[in-house]
Symmetry: C2
């Protein structure tokens, strides 16, 4: 009996993620990994998380180990609602669903919003695992280019209205490009979405990691109070606390949250009550206020190390983005360089990265690569970029 042959129809739409497969190689000792989107493990607030865990065991071990509500632990939903409320956009726990990381938020949204051939506007390039989450549910992606000010909203406006039902965007320190949507374009996008009743899925996974410049308003905040522009926002503690806990969330209209709860009941009943309690303990005691400045300062230093090494070691005709936060720099090499060949050679030199074309839904970007700067110390970053530069010089 042959599995794939008998049960192949839906799985044809599932593609093995090169990024996830790379993670296995990058565990090799001595490997300098610019692949993956791994936060720096040496910066995890281990002691504070251990203390939070002990407090959970001391104060509510049994409820934290028992089944819980699909919606999530009420105290954590309250904390998130409070954190993201604004005067124009007050939120309650009814606007919040706790998920197994932001990835599950994407999966649940696909179940509720996507049917066969549903058109979905996406940044091109965009988050690879968004594409692989939504593709099997039948999404038809409509790519819109990204420049240094983020998604080119003029191109969204130029699309036929029938194609403007749904839009997925990472406005802050986008994965993979590292760029942010400018304030002006945020206003413009909300206006277009308002006029066309576009639903915007706003992914703020990297938003808390700004190490330079002023915070820009979120699309959710800009949309609040407008007639029909609706934004559903998803976030995660993976980049601010630790990804191994798998705690993320969706913020949206209670009617939508209600549908997502039904999808989540079927998907996994609920997210680990234990981990939700640990995160709640940690953030209620002010851990983020203490930890985020430390994290951002380290990431700024790492990003600076990468940008200056790129200037020193990469060919004059290469260009790259200038992130003010997040985890990634996106590099465009001179035409004609084979990025796949470069990767094979780089891995022999114990350096890993992700080819940029992985992130384009239409297979563009053959001369681009994504470099992660959060995972390695500055000296390691300089060494890795030097090795890549030497390979490019050949």
């Amino acid at each position: 009996m042959n599995w794939p042959a008998r049960f192949a129809r839906r799985t044809e739409l599932m593609q093995r993620s090169a990024v996830r497969e790379l993670l296995k190689v990058t565990g090799r000792p001595g490997m300098i990994s610019f692949a993956g989107g791994l936060p720096a493990a040496e910066l995890f607030p281990v002691e504070a998380l251990e203390a939070a865990t002990q407090r959970v065991f001391a104060s509510r071990a049994r409820p934290a180990l028992q089944y819980g509500e699909t919606e999530g632990v009420p105290g954590l939903r309250d904390w998130i609602a409070d954190r993201f409320s604004s005067a124009s956009n007050p939120l309650t726990r009814d606007h919040v669903l706790i998920t197994a990381g932001a990835q599950q938020a994407l999966d649940l949204l696909a179940r509720v919003l996507v049917n066969d051939e549903t058109p979905v506007i996406v940044e091109n390039p965009t988050y690879l695992a968004f594409l692989s989450a939504w593709r099997p549910f039948g999404a038809r992606f409509i790519p819109v280019a990204v420049d240094n000010d983020g998604l080119q909203v003029d191109q969204v406006e130029a699309l036929p209205e029938s194609e403007s039902r749904l839009l997925y965007t990472i406005p802050d320190f986008q994965n993979p490009s590292g760029v942010s949507l400018s304030h002006e374009r945020r206003r413009q996008l909300i206006e277009v979405a308002d006029r066309r009743q576009t639903l915007i899925v706003e992914d703020v996974a990297y938003r808390a990691l700004r190490f330079e410049g002023d915070e820009l308003p979120s699309l959710m905040d800009l949309a609040s109070g407008r007639g029909s522009a609706q934004v559903v926002q998803l976030g995660t503690f993976s980049k601010t606390l630790a990804p191994g806990l798998r705690i993320g969330w969706v913020l949206g209209e209670p009617q939508l949250i209600d549908k997502l709860v039904l999808a989540k009941q079927a998907a996994d009943l609920h997210t680990s009550t234990f981990n939700q309690h640990v995160v709640l303990e940690a953030v209620s005691s002010g851990l983020l206020e203490e930890h985020l400045p430390r994290l951002k300062s380290a990431y700024r230093e790492r990003c600076d190390a990468m940008l200056s090494s790129l200037r020193d070691c990469f060919p004059a005709k290469a260009s790259w983005t200038q992130p003010t936060g997040g985890l990634f720099v996106f590099v465009t090499l001179p035409e004609g360089v084979s990025v796949r060949k470069l990767l094979a050679e780089a891995i022999e030199q114990n350096v890993a990265f992700v080819p940029g074309d992985e992130f384009f839904c239409d297979h563009q970007g053959s001369s681009t690569l994504r470099l992660n700067f959060s995972h390695s110390a500055p000296t390691v970053i300089r060494e890795g970029i030097q090795r890549l530069g030497a390979l490019l010089e050949k």
Copy 2:
């Protein structure tokens, strides 16, 4: 803008689970809950789990808090492969995928195996959240009745061959009926499946909770070495350790596991590395060998309390199953009793249960109810059954 109206197609297939909704009422102080499938929180091995957590923090905090492989933590996959290996059916980590509880195992299997109108043979009644997990992917359920020896395999054999592609069963202490598939019927089922190349999804969530009689061979073990009979088995630590950790697994052919890994990548990247390490620490130190006898002895006492109270307090014309393990007793009331009305009155008397018709895919079972005996102490069980008996007497 109205959510359900714009995005209703797929969500029409999602139904709010009465069981999950009931969990909210059952949290009310003073409520005696025979609803839900909650293990006894007072029996959780809290100290051992806290010690395991401390060992994880002491020995590998950073890898346990970092992203991990989609397949799961290798050491835990090895432990599970080892635990379920037999001479005729040797397993390695390549046969194992770690999931967010057994519920996610069901969800991932649906993604890989179910397309529009895929026929799926199910026990009738069966696990409610299985039905709600597989329905939105397009499963067409083919109900087969259950008696005191479990699934009526003769009825499976009588089905047309074209309807025998996939079968879902809980052979041990089935939810909701509490009955187990007899040894004879297990052999018969494997023979039928072998002849027809049926894929069997074997849910062993309750298998470790036998408190009476000898263990029966699993369908996976019976099928091993046969030509075409294939079994994929799913299990969980929710009933043996604690459900709040959300750690389950799938055991199957590596080709199938590989497809499930793709589905899981898109669903939530991976299951909490932290919780996997905690469970691995706990089970490697022999916690199950120490804890399970205690748990089973308590559940036997609770089951006995329920069965003897039913004899004392329920009408002579009512009948119920005689579980030798698991969490549930299934009651059939005399014709004409309205179980929905009984539930409304019971909740006023602070007693909750789940109407049995919830578990039938064809809305039969209107005079049945499922009673959980694991969640309450024997004295509480007696009090609750007395109250139900008094309501029935009226």
